[in-house]
Amino acid sequence: MDLNSAFPLVALTQSEVLNLLPLFTISFGALFSLLAGTNKTKGRGYAFIMAFSFIVLAVIQGGYLIFSSDITLLGGTLTFSPFTKTLNLMIMFFALIGVVLTYGQDLKEGLLSEIYALILFATAGMILMVSTTHLLFMFIALEIMSLAVYVMVAMRRNSQFSAEAGLKYFILGGVASALFLYGTSLVFGALGSFELSNLELALRSTSQPSFIFFVGLGLILVAMLFKVGAFPFHGWLPDVYQGAATNVTAFMGAAVKFTAFIALAKIAQNLIFIETVPNLKWFQVFIWLSAAASMIYGNFVAISQNEIKRMLSFSTIAHTGYLLLGLYAMNQSEESGQSLVLYLFFYALSNLGAFAIISLFEEKNQKDLHIEQIAGLGMKHPVLGTLFTIFLLSMAGIPLTSGFIGKYGLFSSAVSAGEIPLVIIAVLTSVVSVYYYLRVIVYLFMKEGTEDTAIYQKLTGASVAAFLSAAATLHFGLFPKTIIHFIKMIAK
């Protein structure tokens, strides 16, 4: 076979280079940050400055390029449309907050200077993952992201909790990736393509795809539900969130969840929500059950938790349930796709902020912040207490915070799609969730401090990150119109 006809080498055009620029910037930023981190005494500071400046540059580039023309690269494998560029911009914003949050925390927890480079590598993987529609490319992007995150989780080298969390995440994440890969291979064998749009076309033209396809799709669905931490596959999530250093937990809870969910939504839309194939009904039912179970399990288990990080990780499972509700509603209406993205964005912001505040009060190698330890903190540090309250209220979905806007949009689009039973479960369980969020606030402001009360750790980075996320949470909560219109316009 003539090599040049099988793999034609085409030079990138100017618009393609422009659209890839943020990705290049982030990748080079990671390399420069690695290099800067080699300095023996000031490595962490230099690595931070490198990572920070490159990611700011990438955000600026991404913002400028958002309305530039759509391009597809590598024969349709990578698509940069305004919608994916907006998702990329959101991910870069999470990475920016993640980098800022790590500054100061790295010295306290003994994280190496390479953590900044790892954040950027993971970000590059995430950008590829939300931009691609090719299943194997998605697997590679998933691995680029996950491999960086495994190391970040295990990076507190002198902490038993971190070592254990890293091991659990690595083993279970590795199995999930392998399931995804094998599923992809089976889907390829059954329908003869890796491209999601081609697969959808092939599915629409046949009502009875072969048995192999359903096995493959099942494996892919299990792997993706695992990555987002939905109910039957949530086992790793509390342990990993608790054992990782708090800044890593914040980054995981925001950016990794965002990316995995977008990928799951893409797969579901192209392979699962197809009316012409009757047997796909069972997969839809499975998503329904998983959504309901995640909401119920996450919220009810979170009530009995006394450790704040663990409680927030169970509430993450509950939020995954709400997001799966939005995903399920995408079956009926396109609009819930937009509210899904908004909810993910708002939730990720308040998640980043809440973990930033926790990291401000944790000592070195501490396992978790016990609820008794935050008694009276709100009176002692009124500003931080108020910020923490804002984040918790946003997660609970109380008006004036962005969480309310997200939840309202998600539930109302699900109602208009006709998913009434699931919405009822969601509303009832989110009433339950208000209890454990408010419990933390009560401890913050209405209990007397004891000698166990946590000590403020004076970390500049985490404070700045908390202020940034609080500003964003309040801004989108008070003036949601701009971003809602923006997402609607972009989605067209």
Partner: protein, 100 residues
């Protein structure tokens, strides 16, 4: 039975073995090998499918997957070293500090 079906059956068998190793063994080195087996079973299946459907796509992707598997085992081993330094053992049962 044709070769293609035999190859698919072999890869399914290898995949099941890998899953069983990961689920049943307590030794983390064995678990790591199980994950490698999973990835390689998927590789075999990809190559067989792309050979039978005359598409080079799947075979090319296998090179990427081999690279990723190598990176994954490197990270896995370093996590094991970290586990050993903290717990003095690489048995999964020794690492049980996080519960609740």
């Amino acid at each position: 039975m044709t070769n293609e079906i035999l190859l698919q059956l072999l890869s399914a068998f290898l995949f099941t073995m890998g899953l069983l190793v990961v689920l049943l063994r307590r030794d983390t080195i064995m678990i790591l090998m199980g994950i490698e087996l999973l990835l390689n079973a998927a590789n075999l299946s990809l190559v067989a499918f792309s050979k039978s459907s005359h598409m080079i796509e799947g075979q090319v992707q296998v090179f990427f997957i081999i690279t990723i598997a190598a990176a994954e085992s490197a990270i896995g081993l370093s996590i094991l070293v970290n586990l050993y330094r903290n717990f003095g053992s690489i048995n999964t049962q020794s690492a049980t500090t996080l519960k609740g």
